[in-house]
């Protein structure tokens, strides 16, 4: 308890410092609603918490000030120096009260003073806007409703809005729209409904009465669950539905808890008995934050996700090991159970992987405002187009491209796009085009930023490159080469600020950031036509399905998606004629011995495993000593030391701690076709 009071005092002192600051700001800036709101909130918080730790005097005092600032907030009262002065005095008094040295008369005097100066209508009871006081209906039912009308709902003469309005009219509600790809407004205009409503309803209506609201809907178009605020017992069906609505990105319990908290409490907060010092402050804090955090998403650190990834992958591996051993026992029940475990594990893995993926639109959305502001600052009209917002990409990668992308966009608007007059003189549209496109290309995501501005002045690049010593004067360097100079460290300096980079950060930083997540960047530019900067990014694939094979003592992982077929063949048949081809589906395909590639001694086994790789419909076969089995590999980078090592795209740590290497099937194909 002492600790709680101590913590309370510390916290209040902080609040009071902020309060003082705000009061001074307000004096110079009396109309600022944000500051008024801050002050109101401090008073409100103090009032709500002080009583709990035994400071009834602070509770009473702040109650009055809360009242006053609510009136100011609502515009019913004009703030003036007197009020600020009295509030500052109150702040001082609260400090004294905290120390337990205040006498009640001081507070009374201050309250009287406030009543006089602020002309508050008497010592009225606090007026709550929530409406709970007027509506004294017993609203003790709490429902969670998932309402997902069929897409053709309009053609049944129904309007979901009407139904939701009916719900809203029947009690206190918190409504979340899941709009899918198009906005609900747009869906309504097109008369195709793809929206799901998640409604939290606190009402006096009985279950059957709520069901009546959905009279015209089929049973599978809505689900109503009754909840208890105290004991959050979740119907598994509801849990499943919420999970699929949020694509497993949030725990149903959390979601329900958060949303139910959005509904007004059964009991008004200010009536909390003052003589209840044992109510913990921690509890108070948690309710406070739940009100502030309107975003119901949970932020998880990437590190934790990585750890989860590792654990999941180990789980997958162990399951595999157990399966192998269980097969020997021929126990049907055991095998069935294991099969289920394997299925669940796989599901678990997919979910875990999905956690890392976020739509690229979440980042691009951030830029919309910046683009708008920047173009207005520079007096340029920008026609912004964004395509491929739904493309999903690893969270870490998305985060790492934020600042490069921002830099590129700034450059496009600042240096790329010409002012209106210049554009018109060139016969261009008065507003410049800025197009951001994202799409999948194989395992990568291509993200490009295109503008139709003046393009990069290659002559100036050349001048700068000569000055920096990248090339000699008169040397013949092609455009591609010149453009790579731009991304060299230190190339961009203040003297060529208006060329492509500027603002201190150069393209070299952009390139470095992209490289660090395994991405690459290319610049295309045409004078007066514009510049396109294309980034190629891995989607993530921190885990891939692989087939593990042995080559001598080395364990090699081959991505399952590249494998077409596996079979056994005698060593003799394969290599007797020093043949580099084998017959596969009636045509010869190249044959590669991994032992030969790795410069190991030829195998002395009678039979070898042949794995047919299919890469973009071009096939080749590789030989390995043995197939060990499938392995879900968490890809680990081999590191900078192996940048020149092309055979493997990464490594993976096995359950026994040993390491295996992931074969770069793409490289191998190019490599053998070169020979």
């Amino acid at each position: 308890m002492d600790d709680i009071v101590k913590g309370f005092i510390e916290e209040v002192k902080e609040l009071l410092l902020q309060l003082e600051d705000d009061l001074i700001t307000l004096e110079n800036n009396p109309g600022n609603p944000e500051i008024v709101n801050n002050i109101f909130r401090v008073m409100h918080t103090l009032k709500g918490s002080a009583g709990m730790v035994g400071y009834k005097n602070i509770q009473d005092l702040t109650h009055e000030f809360e009242n006053t600032y609510e009136q100011i907030r609502e515009g019913k009262l004009q703030v003036n120096s007197d009020i600020i002065d009295i509030t500052l005095k109150a702040k001082d008094l609260i400090l004294v009260m905290l120390a337990g040295e205040a006498d009640d008369s001081a507070a009374e005097r201050l309250i009287q003073l406030l009543a006089d100066k602020a002309a508050v209508t008497g010592k009225s009871n606090i007026k709550r806007v929530s409406g709970t006081s007027t509506q004294l209906r017993v609203s003790n039912h709490l429902y969670v409703i998932l309402f997902s009308p069929d897409k053709g709902i309009f053609e049944r003469g129904l309007n979901p809005d009407k139904t939701v309005d009916e719900l809203k009219a029947s009690g206190e509600t918190h409504v979340i729209l899941h709009e899918k790809k198009k906005s609900w407004e747009k869906q309504k205009a097109e008369k195709i409904c793809a929206t799901v409503w998640e409604v939290y309803l606190k009402t006096s209506l009985a279950m059957t009465e709520v069901e009546d609201i959905f009279l015209f809907y089929d049973k599978d178009e809505y689900s109503i669950f009754e909840m208890s605020r105290e004991q959050l017992q979740i119907d598994p069906f509801l849990s499943e539905k919420l999970e699929s609505l949020y694509k497993h990105k949030i725990a149903p319990e959390q979601q329900l808890r958060d949303c139910i908290d959005q509904l007004p409490d059964d009991e008004p907060v200010q009536n909390l008995p003052a003589e209840q010092p044992d109510a913990s402050l921690a509890e108070l804090k948690s309710t406070d934050t739940s009100r502030i955090e309107t975003d119901s998403k949970v932020n998880v650190s990437s590190q934790k996700l990585d750890e989860l990834m590792n654990l999941v992958s180990e789980l997958v591996t162990i399951t595999g090991t157990v399966e192998v051993h269980a097969e020997k026992h021929n126990d049907l029940k055991l095998n069935n159970a294991l099969e289920n475990i394997a299925k669940l594990t796989k599901k678990f893995r997919d979910n875990a992987l999905d956690l890392r993926l976020v739509p690229i639109g979440t980042l691009l959305g951030k830029f919309k405002r910046q683009i708008r502001d920047l173009s207005r600052d520079l007096g340029k009209k920008v026609n912004m187009l964004i395509e491929g917002q739904d493309i999903e990409i690893d969270k870490t990668i998305l985060k790492s491209i934020e600042s490069p992308l921002q830099h590129i966009i700034r450059n496009s608007i600042d240096h790329g796009l010409e002012p209106k007059e210049e554009r018109l003189a060139k016969g261009k549209t008065p507003e410049g085009l800025l197009k951001i496109t994202a799409f999948y290309s194989g395992a990568s995501v291509i993200l490009s930023v295109q503008d139709d501005g003046r393009g990069i002045n290659m002559e100036r690049v050349k001048e700068c490159a000569i000055k920096k010593g990248y090339m000699e004067k008169g040397q013949d360097v092609n455009k591609e080469q010149l453009l790579t100079f731009i991304m060299e460290p230190g190339f961009t300096t203040s003297e060529n600020i208006s060329m492509v980079s500027g603002r201190g950060v150069g393209m070299d930083v952009v390139r470095k950031e992209l490289n660090s997540v395994g991405g690459s960047i290319e610049i295309f530019t045409e004078e007066n036509l514009g510049t396109t900067i294309t980034m190629k990014l891995p989607t993530t694939l921190t885990i891939i399905d692989t087939l593990m094979v042995n080559v001598d003592e080395t364990q090699i992982l081959i991505p399952v998606m590249d494998i077409e077929y596996c079979f056994k063949e005698t060593n003799e048949n394969l290599f007797k004629k020093d043949n580099r081809y084998i017959q596969y589906k009636n045509s010869p395909i190249p044959l590669v011995s991994l032992r030969e590639q790795f410069k190991y001694a030829p195998s002395e086994q009678n039979e070898l495993m042949v794995i047919v790789i299919n890469k973009f419909d071009r096939r080749y076969a590789i030989t390995a000593d043995q197939i060990i089995g499938e392995h879900q590999a968490v890809i680990k980078p081999l590191g900078d030391l192996f940048v020149n090592q092309p055979y493997f795209s990464g490594g993976s740590i096995m359950i026994d701690g040993k390491l295996a290497f992931i074969l770069d099937t793409n490289f191998l194909f190019n490599h053998i076709t070169k020979i």
Partner: protein
């Protein structure tokens, strides 16, 4: 890293490569582990005898005999010293395969003597200098330079490329 106080004693790991003694600042060392079976990477250069799983990362191990061009005496006490080196502006973990980790020694930075231009068989850039303890010379390694990633990547380049 902590700022260098040249008057203050700092600890160094004393290790043996071939018949020579070397010292690495403890600030650089993350762990010293028994030399286990490394996982060989096919087609990697002889500088990199393999990689190891260190705290669930793949860490390359550099054979210091090859790096310093000294004969591998086939020591039975081989150790891998996992160090944290600075490459460009990021930190990279690498393992040093050495013959023996003898002890931890302490000396002041200011007592490190400059390497004479002549009479040293190693690339002088690899050394901060040397220190004389009990009439023995111990070479103090500039480990960031010894394990220059770019250079190592070039020397560990594929043989058949």
């Amino acid at each position: 890293m902590a700022t260098l106080d040249i008057d203050k004693k700092t600890s160094y790991i004393n290790l043996r490569i071939g018949s020579e003694s070397f010292a690495i600042s403890v600030y650089k060392v993350l762990e010293i582990i028994q030399f286990e079976q490394l996982t060989k990477i096919p087609n990697a250069s002889e500088f990199v005898p393999g990689v190891l799983n260190f705290r669930r990362s793949i860490v390359p191990v550099i054979d210091m005999h090859k790096r310093f061009n000294v004969e591998d005496t086939g020591s039975a006490d081989k150790m891998v010293v996992v160090v944290d080196v600075v490459s460009k502006d990021k930190n990279v973990l690498m393992g040093l395969l050495v013959d023996q980790v003898t002890d931890v020694i302490e000396f002041e930075y200011k007592n490190i003597k400059a390497v004479p231009d002549l009479g040293i068989k190693y690339n002088p850039e690899f050394l901060e200098g040397f220190i004389e303890i009990e009439e023995k010379f111990i070479m103090v390694l500039n480990i960031d330079r010894v394990l220059n990633v770019k250079e190592l990547a070039e020397v560990s380049h594929l043989v058949n490329e």
